[in-house]
């Protein structure tokens, strides 16, 4: 037993002494970065060289792809740079919470936007934040409302659904709560400078957080839904496909799951987000229901797990 442990102890001892000189270019790149200029990464430069070698092949391929793009999709295409500008969720870095001064989700969100939250245990604080939000008694009012009040609300909601413009997201703003057997979920939406920013948290048991960030952007006559499923992955862009006051569908040509994102409003004032898979992969849709805004209640999530049919 002793010898067995020694080999890994040795490993640690040697690893702790490991030093290697980075290339002399590294400091120059860092210095440029510190002076506020953008620099291509080493990896990108290397990749670029590889690309250069395959340039002729790529040229042929790109001609074919451009041709097919125009043939298959006659509608307006967006320049790479424009799509990139849409994709960028916000200027802040991936969420790593630590010294959040308050557990209030709204406050967290504000600090996060301002880039004030950087390091530490994201999960613990976020769980605490969402649980705090859930247990806040002030927000649990709907249970006490009378049936007649509910009826009035439903009528108003139906009226809103029939009279509001088709493409309208103002109703999304606010904090939405979802309740599922395994835990709590929260979705926050906020409109800043005409762009809707959303954040979704899912807490399972007491220690797992799933976080996603969303953005709804208007560009000319088009609308885009940007979805980033975790802070470390790239965001995907979905373009508005169909819209009615009740149901808005965004779709992507390239994403397999979700290939489509549908926002469905109901007459009770709530909404559901449906994530649909590409037909080529047989996944049942994922649905997350937010039945009440700023209220905990009656949330039923129909199908969340990605169960293969």
């Amino acid at each position: 037993m002793k010898e067995k442990q020694d080999i890994f102890k040795q490993f640690k001892e040697q690893a702790d002494q490991l030093e290697e000189m980075p290339s002399s270019k590294a400091w120059e790149r860092l210095e440029t970065r510190l002076q506020g200029k953008a620099q291509p990464t080493t990896a990108k430069i290397v990749r670029f060289r590889t690309w250069a070698v395959a340039a002729s092949l790529l040229a042929i391929l790109s001609i074919i792809s451009i041709l097919s793009t125009f043939l298959i999709q006659p509608e307006e295409r967006y320049a790479e740079a424009e799509i990139e500008a849409i994709t960028e969720i916000s200027a802040s870095e991936p969420l790593l919470l630590s010294d959040a001064p308050s557990y209030d989700v709204y406050n967290l969100q504000q600090h996060y936007r301002k880039g004030k939250i950087e390091e530490g245990s994201a999960t613990k604080k976020l769980v605490a934040a969402v649980n705090y939000f859930y247990n806040d008694t002030k927000t649990q009012v709907v249970e006490e409302t009378t049936d007649s009040k509910k009826e009035v609300a439903v009528t108003e909601n139906i009226q809103a659904l029939t009279t509001e413009p088709k493409v309208n997201f103002n109703w999304l703003e606010g904090s939405w709560k979802g309740k599922i057997a395994a835990g709590n979920s929260v979705e926050n939406w906020q409109k800043i400078d005409g762009i809707f920013y959303g954040e979704g948290y899912l807490i399972q048991q007491s220690d797992t957080v799933f976080m996603e960030r969303m953005k709804i952007v208007n560009k000319g006559k088009d609308w885009f839904y940007v979805l980033q499923l975790d802070p470390y992955s790239n965001a995907s862009v979905y373009q508005l496909e169909t819209a009615s006051p009740r149901k808005i569908i965004f779709a992507s040509d390239t994403q397999k799951f979700p290939a489509k994102v549908a926002l469905i409003r109901n007459e009770n004032g709530g909404f559901s987000t449906q994530l649909l898979a590409n037909k080529s992969i047989e996944l049942s849709p994922t649905q997350l229901d937010f039945l009440t805004k700023r209220n905990v209640l009656l949330i039923d999530r129909a199908v969340r797990n990605l169960v293969r049919k």
Partner: protein, 178 residues
């Protein structure tokens, strides 16, 4: 100048202080990056990004614990962020029935610093990451699970498998014998 004075100068954005800190810690931190990230070019990107954070957020170093330890945590975080972006541990599985009988080995040849990367780079990313975090950085399984977005059991399984594979490699290359 003491380290504290250099840190303060760096907080004011003094380029000389920034360079001093880089020169002092870059070789060691590049070693850290190399343990996590296989490609040297990618490891350098991680190093630069990590140092950018170190130097621009130096005011957040509260003086609790060693300065080197603080830098190291940022670099490790940066490496993990890179790995998650490029090589997520999505396919890591929990092993319910794993052979945890750890056979005794006798050391034939002492490991040297230059052997470390050779062995670590022969491990799959998931094994390597968890091994690095647990054995070398001294993180707990709970912290690893949190950092990587995996379950505690996955972290434990990956460590067992990493050790098993390493032992196998060490035997094959005549560093140890059963």
């Amino acid at each position: 100048m003491t380290e504290q004075q250099i840190i303060e100068a760096c907080e004011r954005g003094d380029p000389k202080a920034q360079k001093w800190i880089y020169n002092r810690f870059a070789p060691k931190m590049f070693g850290v990056c190399r343990r996590y990230v296989k490609s040297s070019a990618d490891a350098e990107d991680v190093l630069i990004e990590g140092f950018y954070k170190v130097l621009t957020k130096i005011h957040q170093y509260g003086g609790n614990g060693s300065f080197e330890g603080w830098i190291r945590r940022i670099i490790v975080n940066e490496a993990l962020m890179f790995l998650r972006k490029n090589n997520p541990l999505k396919n890591a599985t929990d092993l319910e029935h794993i052979d945890i009988v750890e056979h005794q080995v006798s050391v034939l040849e002492a490991l040297k610093v230059q052997d470390i990367l050779k062995f670590l780079h022969q491990l799959p990313t998931g094994y390597r990451t968890v091994f690095n975090l647990y054995v070398i950085e001294g993180y707990k399984h709970r912290e690893i699970a949190e950092q990587l977005g995996i379950s505690i059991n996955t972290s434990k399984s990956q460590l067992i498998l990493a050790k098993k594979r390493l032992r196998q490699l060490l035997i094959e290359q005549n560093y140890v014998t059963e």
